[in-house]
Point group: none
Chain length 252, copies 2
């Protein structure tokens, strides 16, 4: 007879869908320790009753958290808490082995080109914006501080209104999105990252000391603000023979 969980109340009834509100509530309860990692959530039907929503809505909410890897479900058993809120701000630098992703202090991005571009075709599709939209396009090699040869080639696309953020910057030693956040006051809510294999083009190969057509890895990131608004889009190219992307999934 667990009569202790009386704090299950939905708050703020704004325009966000109910199932997202439920998902956020569950996330808060998980982070807050009400549902510790490794334990089972109450059954869907119980949650539905306690929150006065339909089981279908609960399932949608749980589906969200399952997609993010926070929950996992098994028929006949229940829904298990797999991970606390994934704290990407720490993982961002933590999943780098050899400091490949340590943007903050150990690398330098040298902007060699900057221009306004209309994005279209594949690029527009990758960015998730309408073809024809204008962006400020910056590009250049990235060095380990003090190194002579770059280990990575960068491309960055910024909204035109953020022009003055990078106006006077030729060498960047911090994560660009922190500057964007500081300038706009808008917080980056989500980063969507994509990794794929590519052939290096002539320019990239030149920077990286490889030959055109050699194996490479392309790592792109979409920085989204509130309302899935694209604030920044960045692409990095690495030589395929030396680069590997490492992640550790621990179950605590």
């Amino acid at each position: 007879m667990n009569g202790q969980d009386a704090e299950l109340v939905m708050t703020f009834e704004d325009g966000t869908p109910l199932y997202l509100q439920v998902a956020q509530l569950l996330q808060r309860l998980i982070d807050g320790g009400t549902y510790p990692v490794g334990t089972l959530l109450p059954p869907e039907s119980d949650l539905a009753q306690q929150l006065s929503v339909s089981r279908h809505t609960i399932r949608q909410a749980i589906g969200q958290l399952r997609q993010r890897g926070v929950l996992s479900a098994r028929k006949g058993v229940g829904t298990r808490v797999e991970a606390p809120e994934d704290d990407w701000r720490s993982r961002f630098s933590a999943n780098s082995r050899g400091g490949l992703f340590d943007f903050a202090r150990s690398t330098e991005l040298h902007f060699k080109h900057r221009q306004m571009t209309e994005v279209r075709g594949n690029l527009a599709a990758d960015m998730g914006v309408r073809p024809g939209r204008k962006f400020l396009h910056l590009s250049g090699p990235r060095y380990y501080s003090g190194d002579k040869n770059p280990f990575c080639v960068n491309e960055v696309f910024l909204e035109p209104r953020l022009k003055e953020v990078v106006e006077n910057i030729d060498i960047l030693r911090v994560a660009l999105f922190t500057l964007v956040e500081a300038s706009t006051g808008e917080r980056v809510k989500e980063i969507q990252q994509e990794i794929r294999a590519v052939h290096l083009d002539e320019v990239q190969a030149g920077y990286l000391g490889r030959n055109q057509g050699d194996l490479g890895m392309r790592l792109s990131r979409r920085y989204l603000g509130s309302g899935s608004r694209l604030l920044e889009y960045a692409v990095q190219y690495y030589p395929g023979d030396t680069f590997a992307y490492h992640t550790t999934l621990s179950s605590t």
Copy 2:
């Protein structure tokens, strides 16, 4: 009044859920050119009526194909075909244990080869074990449930003592490490994942419908038990032209 689309009939009523059958049907119709890339699918309500299923089931089916990147939907407009025909664009997102679990359940791994091998050289180094150690080596293609063509080639290395875990299994529909956990009673504490770009060898290319030397992605995972003991090592090869590895880092 388009009275031409009379070929919308569901076949084989086996144990697979209805919404997956619908998803496969839609995929076939897309590949077959009935719904060309770039065009809009008929409205959900029309599809539901034509197939004599509920709109809810149609939405589940469409949801599957949206997850794979085959379809995209916009409110008030419709559902658009995004992927080129006969390109089953594999999108794989897994940044958690639960993600791997769900991934394995919507796919099938067919074991084609199984043998004892002594690992050495690069492989031993990647696995993090002494060269010369013996492992049970299984390999084969992986399919989306119901698909004809594999989207991935798998290799699995297991400790010899876990032989009976896969003894009678030819088609695997769950995450292998859960079987290992169940058999040994030892919980997987950590999964170390590595992604790199490769050229496909002849066998891999054959399975994936590509040519030898084509661009590919290699995704390896080390499943560690307590005390950093290697329980399982798995490698997956994907075609580089259609495969992308996605991660979402959200801050809410």
